[in-house]
Amino acid sequence: MSTLMLRTTGITKRFGGVTAVDSLDLEIFENEIVGLLGPNGAGKSTLFNLIAGALPPDTGRLEVFGEDVTGQPAHRMCQRGVARTFQIVRPLAGLTVLENAMVGAFAKTRSVRHARERAEAALDLVGLSEMVTTMASSLTLGHRKRLEVARALASQPQLLLLDEMMAGLNPAELDPFIEILRDVNRQGVTIIVVEHVVHAVMQLASRIVVISQGRKISEGLPASVMSSRAVVEAYLGDDFAIS
């Protein structure tokens, strides 16, 4: 068994009367690419926000690299090596591409020179090295998504959380993007991808976790998970599963 990177135990988040994440247990191991699937409103993004420290859980426990990090704020999680991207990309619009990535790099270093080197390396990896001086606000959506990844990578994460990065990309952008993520993974970064675009995840993930209504309903290899009855029901409704 390889090293445990992330473990949630009974993690729960409620918004008013709605339980977005319902005592969920999740384990992620080193060097995996785990696809987190589920229909709209299943609680994927909330789970992400819980792991990234953007939201504190109501109950439950969050461990990263064997340490209890329950309730740690977002910036601390990033400094510990858990980086995330946003479902709706949030470039620092008034800064250049390089400066965006440097902000990420500063999570682990004080030195401007080191930050610049790491930022350049990360931008190189995602294929943005030609655009270092471009303003983030003038990038196309595809490039913005790459910048989101580069910025997260510049913080030298061990665990990378990608929230719906593939949605909205056209096929010409999608394939290189999947290649980039494979590259990142080969360099030793564990990745969790949230998607509701199923086929992109099937290509990429080594393991799939399906959640619905805040609960984990299935887990396993891509092919077996997608044929499971619970998953089909969750996605398409009971009628479809019966027929």
Binding site: C78, T96, R110
Partner: protein
């Protein structure tokens, strides 16, 4: 490296200084010292009006530069910066008049007091986003104004405080103006140096990230609360220090002259018109607007009171509509454009 100049950036590093990261601070010091010496020489022989203009420009440039740390770099619109300026002015003046403590020590205490106020105010208010932070700081300014009006025994109330004209370096009081040029100019240089150091380090990048998108900044490992608090502390301290210098120059202060909402607004106008978030933006704003205002006031003040503020208002409107990045930003954009054209041809 030079290609970085071609792209406009409101980023933490000013495009004009970006290409020479290390020697730029020594360049700033060298240039600043020469400029101050020159201005001091001019002010010692120039008519009173122009000497006064130089000192006031330096004071307001320092004030706007200190505002820029929290308002420009961190993007937190402080509408109550007169609170710090006034706190500094009153602190050293009261210490000097009532306790005979030298304004130089008063200046240090003012710095500490302003920094403490910046920190204390920041702790609760930095949770507020957008216009609500602006409104809270506005209220803070009004509260301090009324504190100065109310506690008459200490502050003289509406009557204010007159400082004794005891000349000498020990009392920071002079009959001529060139000494004030040296002191205010030196202080401005310190403000610019601190700002420059902030911008060229991690702190500057993190402040810029918070300004652009606080939640994204947090996700990138920026402790947004801490960097904002530090910026607020520095900004408040520096604004308070220049308050002491102003008090020693004018030798008379009232609640309205140092704590009034008009002072807070003037600071913002200078910074925004010059280019907030840019190292030299607020300085440029002060250099353009303070002398212009004083000239208009001298020429038309008697016949047309209000004309100089009218000019201010019109300039603010024009700059916001046409040059939202301020005049400094407009100039660097133009320079970048020319640079790019030349490269392409």
């Amino acid at each position: 490296m030079s290609q970085q100049i071609v792209n406009r950036s409101s980023g933490p590093i000013d495009p004009m200084v970006r290409s020479r990261p290390l020697p730029k601070h020594s360049l700033l010091i060298g240039f600043g010292v020469v400029a101050i010496a020159l201005l001091a020489f001019v002010s010692s022989s120039a008519p009173v009006f122009y000497g006064h203009m130089i000192v006031m420009t330096l004071i307001y440039a320092a004030l706007a530069t200190s505002w820029n740390i929290i308002g420009g770099f961190a993007g937190q619109l402080s509408l109550g910066h007169a609170a710090f300026f006034g706190l500094g002015a009153y602190t050293s003046s009261i210490l000097f008049v009532d306790f005979g403590i030298s304004p130089w020590i008063g200046l240090l205490i003012a710095l500490l007091g302003g920094a403490t106020l910046g920190l204390l105010i920041g702790i609760p208010t930095f949770r507020l986003r957008g216009p609500y932070f602006a409104l809270a700081t506005l209220a803070l300014g009004i509260i301090l104004l009324n504190v100065a009006v109310h506690f008459r025994e200490l502050t003289g109330g509406h009557v204010g405080i007159s400082l004794p004209p005891t000349e000498g370096w020990g009392t920071m009081t002079f009959l001529n103006r060139w000494q004030y040029v040296v002191i205010a100019g030196g202080y401005l240089l310190v403000c610019l140096l601190i700002s420059g150091i902030i911008l060229s380090n991690r702190f500057g990048y993190q402040l810029a990230a918070v300004r652009e998108d606080e939640e994204a900044a947090r996700a990138l490992g920026v402790n947004a609360t801490r960097v904002k608090l530090l910026a607020g502390t520095l900004s408040g301290g520096l604004a308070a220090g220049i308050g002491t210098i102003y008090a020693q120059y004018i030798l008379f202060l009232t609640p309205d002259s140092v704590l009034g909402t008009a002072v807070s607004i003037e600071i913002i106008v200078l910074a925004i018109v010059g280019g907030s978030g840019k190292l030299y933006g607020p300085l440029l704003g002060a250099v353009l607007l303070i002398p212009a205002g004083q000239l208009v006031l001298r020429e038309f003040g008697g016949a047309l009171p209000g004309l100089h503020t009218l000019v201010y208002g019109v300039i603010v409107i024009i700059v916001i509509l046409l040059f939202p990045r301020g005049i400094w930003g407009m100039l660097t954009d133009t320079a970048a454009l020319i640079n790019r054209r030349r490269k392409h041809s």
